[in-house]
């Protein structure tokens, strides 16, 4: 597929349905189409990590990143998700948009390390739970799983406030971690405890080169 322009990608991704009732325990924030298109466009345009690749999407939710990967030329994208409600929406999105090259497996992402999925993928994309509240460290567990599963690169989103910590972890894992861009992640008033109507969170878009990983 010829490379799609970022604007066009965002238009397509605006048609992807998000969570009906986000679950606080799973920290379900939808990936906004603008963020998803900006991230994925750069994964392809700067690093050529989508076109013709086998791509895994950890915690794929409603499928925003999986569908975007397909639109940018991934040969096969496999999403992994725990939550049956998110999977229902994922299924509808993929069916409605008539996307032939996306699969989804209902499973616990944290159980994938040590399985046959190790080193199965060229590229892993993930918008993990940010790892706040009851979920401390969850974002890094997703990245660590991604590093196990990928042979090329892992792309992930993290709160900017955790940047130093992630640099340190990258060194421990012998992966080259770099912040590709800093983004403003606008989160609508998804949960009752959010007082204001919407919140802007500063988020880093990371790339981890895993070709020399040591895990």
């Amino acid at each position: 597929m010829a490379r799609m322009r970022m604007k066009k990608l965002e238009e397509f991704l605006s048609g992807v349905d998000g969570f009906e009732k986000p679950k606080i325990l799973l920290e379900q924030y939808p990936t906004p189409p603008h963020i998803a298109s900006c991230v994925l466009y750069n994964v392809q345009a700067q690093y050529f990590d989508l076109e013709d690749k086998l791509v895994g999407d950890l915690g794929c939710g409603c499928g925003m990143l999986s569908i975007g990967s397909f639109l940018l030329g991934a040969q096969l994208t496999i999403g992994f998700e725990l939550d049956p409600d998110a999977i229902d929406i994922f299924r509808n999105n993929v069916t409605e948009m008539e996307i032939p090259a996306i699969d989804c497996v209902q499973t616990n992402v944290l159980e994938l390390t040590g399985s046959k999925w190790e080193n199965a993928f060229d590229t892993i994309v993930t918008n993990p739970p940010f790892g706040t509240k009851h979920n401390a460290g969850m974002d890094m567990k997703f990245v660590e799983t991604g590093i196990h599963l990928a042979t090329g690169a892992v792309y992930s989103l993290h709160k900017t406030s955790t940047r130093d910590y992630i640099h340190k972890k990258s060194k421990d894992w012998k992966v080259k971690g770099e912040v590709v861009a800093q983004l403003n992640y606008n989160i609508d008033n998804s949960y009752k405890f959010h007082k204001s109507k919407s919140v802007d969170i500063e988020v880093d878009f990371w790339r981890f080169d895993v070709t020399e990983k040591e895990l």
């Binding site: 040969q75 299924r91 699969d103 989804c104 046959k116």
Partner: protein
């Protein structure tokens, strides 16, 4: 569920299960979805797959005549085989069916094309 995805699935996460592979695939409903043929992709995918399970999948969908039982040493020049593998691994979509753990008989349902590999707390 594509048959390439099937090749990676195990029931090893179940407590007490040693290998949990290959899972026994039963298909109640399947579809064929045409996707772009990319010989290089198939060539790069093959070393990641378990060939016995590729062949097992071919038997399950009655395509065993298309696929050699033993993994061929080189496939790069065999465009016809790569085409067949592309069809088998990327175009056949299992919509309804089940996967069964070879050691415990635990069944994982495939519903609307998505296998549910989740385990209950008392199983892990």
């Amino acid at each position: 569920m594509k048959l390439s995805t099937y090749n990676f699935l195990t029931s090893k996460a179940i407590k007490g299960v040693k290998v949990g592979y290959p899972l026994k695939l039963t298909i109640a409903k399947k579809d064929v979805v045409e996707t772009e043929f990319n010989p290089t992709f198939i060539e790069r995918l093959l070393p990641k797959l378990d060939w016995n399970t590729v062949y097992l999948a071919a038997q399950t969908v009655d395509l065993a005549d298309d696929i050699p039982q033993e993994q061929p040493a080189a496939v790069a020049d065999n465009e016809e085989l790569l085409q067949r593998l592309h069809h088998l691994l990327l175009e056949i979509d299992v919509l309804e069916g089940q996967l069964e753990c070879p050691e415990t008989g635990r069944v994982f349902p495939i519903t609307d094309g998505i296998p549910n590999m989740l385990l209950n707390e008392d199983e892990v």
